[in-house]
């Protein structure tokens, strides 16, 4: 096969310009994320400092709030169940950030391997993946909860234990 012919062919042009187009899309997406992050960060800090700026100091919650340096995923979480309180789960993810997941009967689908399970089948220390919708209270309303093999079984990187948990 004449390589030069292939490199001058239309197919090769389509491949290379598709790659270039994909790069452009990713960069535009990244720029959008960055602009969104700046706006969200400003709004967050504005809200955080509202009382201080306009009505004197407000009581401050101890510890670092997540979201200062990067976005948190709002539509899903992968991590370990550290608390089960009724239909609410507290999950610690790989960045040791704790998120609350709300299970709604009739909406949330809970699965282990190929079988559907119930909320009562979930246990503390289970590793789960959740897909859902963020609500107005900063919780994730679960649509799908799937129990994963634990990190010790090698199918998932273990959580990062270098940092303290964030609240």
């Amino acid at each position: 096969m004449d390589l030069n012919k292939f490199f001058q062919s239309k197919t090769f042009s389509i491949i290379t310009w598709s790659v270039a187009g994909l790069i452009l899309v990713l960069l535009v997406f990244s720029a959008g994320m960055s602009a969104g992050f700046k706006k969200a960060s400003f709004s967050y800090k504005w809200g955080e400092n509202y009382y201080r700026n306009f009505a004197g100091p407000a009581p401050k919650f101890p510890g670092n709030m997540p979201g200062h340096d990067e976005f948190m995923g709002a539509h899903g979480i992968i991590g370990q169940i550290i608390k089960i309180d009724g239909s609410t789960l507290v999950i610690k993810d790989r960045e040791n950030t704790e998120k609350t997941v709300v299970i709604k009967e009739g909406v949330s689908v809970l699965r282990r391997l190929r079988e559907d399970i119930k909320l009562t089948d979930l246990k503390v220390d289970d590793f789960i993946v959740v897909i859902g919708e963020p609500d107005s209270e900063g919780q994730i309303e679960a649509k799908l909860v799937r129990i994963l093999p634990s990190p010790e079984q090698g199918l998932m990187p273990p959580p990062n234990n270098d940092n303290n948990a964030q609240f």
């Binding site: 790069i23 990244s30 995923g73 899903g76 992968i78 859902g132």
Partner: protein
């Protein structure tokens, strides 16, 4: 001997032919240097490409993208029902910059290969012309 060949005049086109040959040789040399530079660039780019691939691959695992995307196969019907949440989850975890860097390296590599192949073809053609017409 000197007297025997003393009256021979060089052909009128000889100077043009010599100049043309020198010009061809200079262009050939420049092309060879360019091809060498392309080979060096390709040799340097391949380890960078491997590194970028490894980095993107590990970010796909670390961000959870691979676990989320595997749900397509294990929970297809649920994923399709809640495709918007699923799609947004994938977008949130997609390692954009690592993928862009990897694709950028691939794009540069493809362009370098294309230019190298083109130059090699020109070099071969020029060599053929030189061999046909001699010095």
């Amino acid at each position: 001997m000197g007297k025997k060949y003393g009256n021979i005049e060089p052909p009128a086109y000889l100077l043009d032919k010599v100049i043309a040959r020198i010009d061809r040789e200079e262009r050939l040399l420049a092309l060879k240097r360019r091809v060498f530079a392309f080979f060096v660039a390709i040799a340097g780019l391949i380890p960078a490409l491997v590194y970028a691939f490894g980095s993107a691959r590990s970010m796909f695992v670390e961000s959870g993208f691979s676990e989320y995307s595997s749900l397509i196969f294990s929970d297809t019907s649920v994923v399709l029902s809640y495709w918007q949440s699923f799609f947004l989850t994938l977008l949130e975890t997609f390692p954009i910059m690592e993928t862009a860097i990897f694709l950028g390296a691939i794009f540069i590599l493809l362009q370098l290969l294309k230019l190298t192949a083109k130059d090699i073809k020109i070099i071969n053609n020029m060599r053929t012309v030189n061999n046909q017409y001699g010095s």
